[in-house]
Amino acid sequence: MIRDEHKDRDSGHVPEFPTLSRREFLQSIGGGIIIFFTVGDASAARGRRYPEDFNAYLRIGEDGRVTCFSGKIEMGQGIITSLAQMLADELDVQLQSVDMVMGDTSVCPYDMGTFGSMSTRFFGPPLRAAGAEARAVLIELASEHLNVPKDRLETKDGAVFQKTDATKRVTYAELAKGKIIERHLEQEAVLKTVAEFKVMGKSFNRTDSVEKVTGKAEFSGDIRLPGMVYAKILRPPAHGARLKSLDVSAVERLEGVQLVRDDDMVAVLHKNPDEAEKALAKIKVEWDLPEAQPDDVSIFDHLLRKASRSNTAERKGDIDSGEKLADSVFEKTYLNSYVAHATIETHTALANVEASKATVWASTQTPFRLQQELAKVLGMRQEDVRVITPFVGGGFGGKSNNLQAVEAARLSKLAGKPVQVCWSRAEEFFYDTYRPAAVVKIKSGITDSGRAVLWDYQVYFAGERGSTMFYDVPHHRTLVYGEWRGGGGVHPFATGPWRAPSNNTNTFARESQIEIMAARAGMDPLEFRLKNLKDERMIGTLKAAADKFGWSPSKAPSGRGFGIGCGVDSGTYVSTMAEVEVDEETGKVRVKRVVCAQEMGIVINPEGAKIQMEGCITMGLGYALTEELRFKGGKILDSNFNTYEIPRFSWVPEIETVLVKADDISPQGGGEPAIIVMGGVIANAVADATGARLFQLPMTPERVKAAIAKSRSLAASPALP
């Protein structure tokens, strides 16, 4: 069993909480039946205290509608639907009568942020319990109302009725009318069993899709306030550049343009964003460029030089004994580049800072952290700062960083009017908190019979998540140098979480190394894995994938272009098989087919889970094949999608997804796991097609061609004695 990875979920930033009172919530939401509950997630174990001992609640209103107030946000991952499903099922109401109010700091209790595939895993269980508790309260009320003992009552479709006589009934709306009943969830409520599910475990269409197909869905950039203006901010040409001279005279004369300066920030405001941009271009500015820094080629040596302290994440047996047992030893180094989040919605915020309060609409994954940041920057009390999170146009970890909202708030305070900051695509590439470039070194060994006996694993700057060894190797250790957050002057710019932080790099390295060993052992890569696995959950997904794929055993390289990749993330197990075609002349890789089997415990919305898997597979093609941030001397050389290529329709393979049933395991994460295998599975498939092994992501045509040339020259040279 793999232990859960709690450590790298958050930025490590421990906020203080605004003093939210229950009374304030009650006043703001009116009457009804309200259940307060605490989310027992990882942060609680880290000694955090939630205000008033609750951090979410649900209400059954006088209209019978059920509202869930949660600090989580919706960025495409679909929890707006799956959380509502959980509540609907436990409460016995239709999915359509559940409203989700998300990411608004003034009405939703504290939440640390939406990341780490945690919403279903950690928010889900207490939400279900709250639903079950609310149902119990309703039955109690109905018992009095109908004068029928509780055990003779049943609930369905938002009403309580007598089991033997359904005409004796009362609706939730009637029960909630004129009442304010508050309950705190303290003990475990009795949850429905999987067999009792009516809404959970069933596929529902997204509840936000009608808004999204009609253009009515509001994102942060779509909020309009009277008198609002749009800001464009002067940006340096390179990270580390310093302002040398500035001449704003041409802008000061322009009609309708307001120039704002605040310390290092120079911005122009205009009632139209494009005209603000035009005005900004008229500023004459000179910069001192920074000393040469590592570029996208020298970065890996730089990282290894910067690595000093490591922590031992895992140790079993003893490395020396493993080496003695091994008949063949493999020492390989794997490289992975910086990649951008490249969400189609750029970082956007609208801030309205008034004398004693501020309201900020922001595309953010961390509204409460932003509230705290803003209070500090604006010199206000946290309770006077309200952050509202409209729909977020993609996050993937990148919108845990809220710089754009801080900029909008600073400008609004200075200008005395609402200000929108919407980063341009170039700003988005420049200020992204990239997935860090990383190096993995592995020394591993097998016996002649194909048993893995040694695994000495060192990861530099990718982070620990996903480095846990789930193959059964008697002698292994994992050393972790640095992590994905950056800091300490290691990276030339900011880094941060990127869909399944650390795990894409660790899984690429591990799964490549596994197939290198399988090939040397002369074994089929599936057979080699099964021989070296004891973990039943992983074995289950591997067999399910093989079954769907129609895997037939063959020694690698088989020339078929088949690869396998396995991994664990957010408590979920994934095995993926892929078929690729490699054009050996151009070096271009085309992924033809991907089969992904995932075991994620109880599945709340099977279709939603599959959509996330498909999204992971498709997005993962990018970091596997093309995505790599180019930079030099502090300059980010990619500023738009013409050079930074993300997956397109024409890249998308035939995708088949399988959910492996595991109803005895509580629901696990779903937004990230399936992406982690994409580098490894494609690298393995390329090696199977061509005999050439790639040790660096992305596998660009140039790198593929170079690897093929190298493998041919090795094959042509006489064997060493």
């Binding site: 899709s209 498709t618 999608f641 998308v652």
Partner: protein
Amino acid sequence: MMANVSFTLNGKPVSLDIDPDRMLLWALRTDLGLTGTKYGCGQGQCGACTVLVDDRAVRSCVLPVRSVEGKKVVTIEGLSDNGKLHPLQEAFVEHDALQCGFCTPGMILTAYSLLLRNPRPTREEIVRGMDRNLCRCGSHSRIIQAIESAARIMKGGT
């Protein structure tokens, strides 16, 4: 510098006193308050800003307002008919062909234009027609399915 530009927007006449060199995207989003058309890249590379001009999908972030003079412009807000979703919109809902939804208006309008010119496209033709529209969430497979299904329902009509 300012000029009058008149065109039809979602079936209604519009007349703007505007710098005609400004891009249509910003006129729509700010001057006209139609925010369904999205900014994604500003260089015509992602397709989030796609609108229909005389029934052809164009990138409004690189289209000067002057060039729609006298023309028929349709944005995502103008696609449904009196609250009744267009078959493409229906199909996107049915197939869950979206996640964050930010690229969705551009996807739907690009598909609309594609189906108008080629009512029964093959899968390859859909892929080719949609290839310049970017989606980061990875909804591509379902978008293709939604377009295929809408094409069947529309049977060559719009």
